[in-house]
Amino acid sequence: MAAELLRENFEIQGRNFDKAGEISSEIKVILKDLGIDASCFRRVVIVAFEAEMNVVMYAERGTISLILTDRDISLEVKDEGPGIPDIDLAMKEGYSTASDEMREMGFGFGMGLPNMKKNSDEFCIESEVGKGTSVFARILLDSHA
């Protein structure tokens, strides 16, 4: 198993649209400062941003953990939200349960989860209705996908 070089945990406030995205910006700065390859950290921050927006839009609260090893960068996102009844459906491009308010923010067009998967080398999502959703995404340091 690869050695863990860095782990940072962040708290996400649900429904706080003004602050939505701040954590992802912070992650971008951390990875940039560490000298991580631009195409790699770009993929990480896109996954982080989509995940953060989902938590802000749907959940009461959540957390993002950023984990760096010598081989990859992982994001673990957990929320206390409504959960996703049908994950296969939620992963389809264009499928959305977003409200008008979410769409006014420029999100909720059914591209968030597919975008996260597309930018990850390994992606998994688990959800329990009424409890919340967990997402794990891994991006390899030497991947140029």
């Binding site: 003004d18 923010m105 420029g106």
Partner: protein, 114 residues
Amino acid sequence: MKLAEIKDLLKCEVLAGDEDLSTDITHVVASDGMSEILAFAKSSELMITGLTNIQSIRTADIAGVSAVIYCRGKRPDKKVIDFAKQKRIPVLATDMVMFDICGILYNKGLKGVS
């Protein structure tokens, strides 16, 4: 094409980054959906959008675009402009609609992203 030329072509007002219009633009990404910008932008594109809230600049920063042009006469709040200045992202605004902007830039040889 330089951002300064695009500014003249689209009759834009510069809201942020007046000193930084020498950027060379070759590709454009245009949408009101921020996930669409995030999905298609590769980096350094010009972003055209009608969404003027703080998330538009947040998306521009995360996607790594070179500049943002707000279309349809929309103008963002001061806090959005201040945020763009902080992120060093030039922001322009025009009264033109997105279809016309894309048509004009396409005719000038700029490319889309897919």
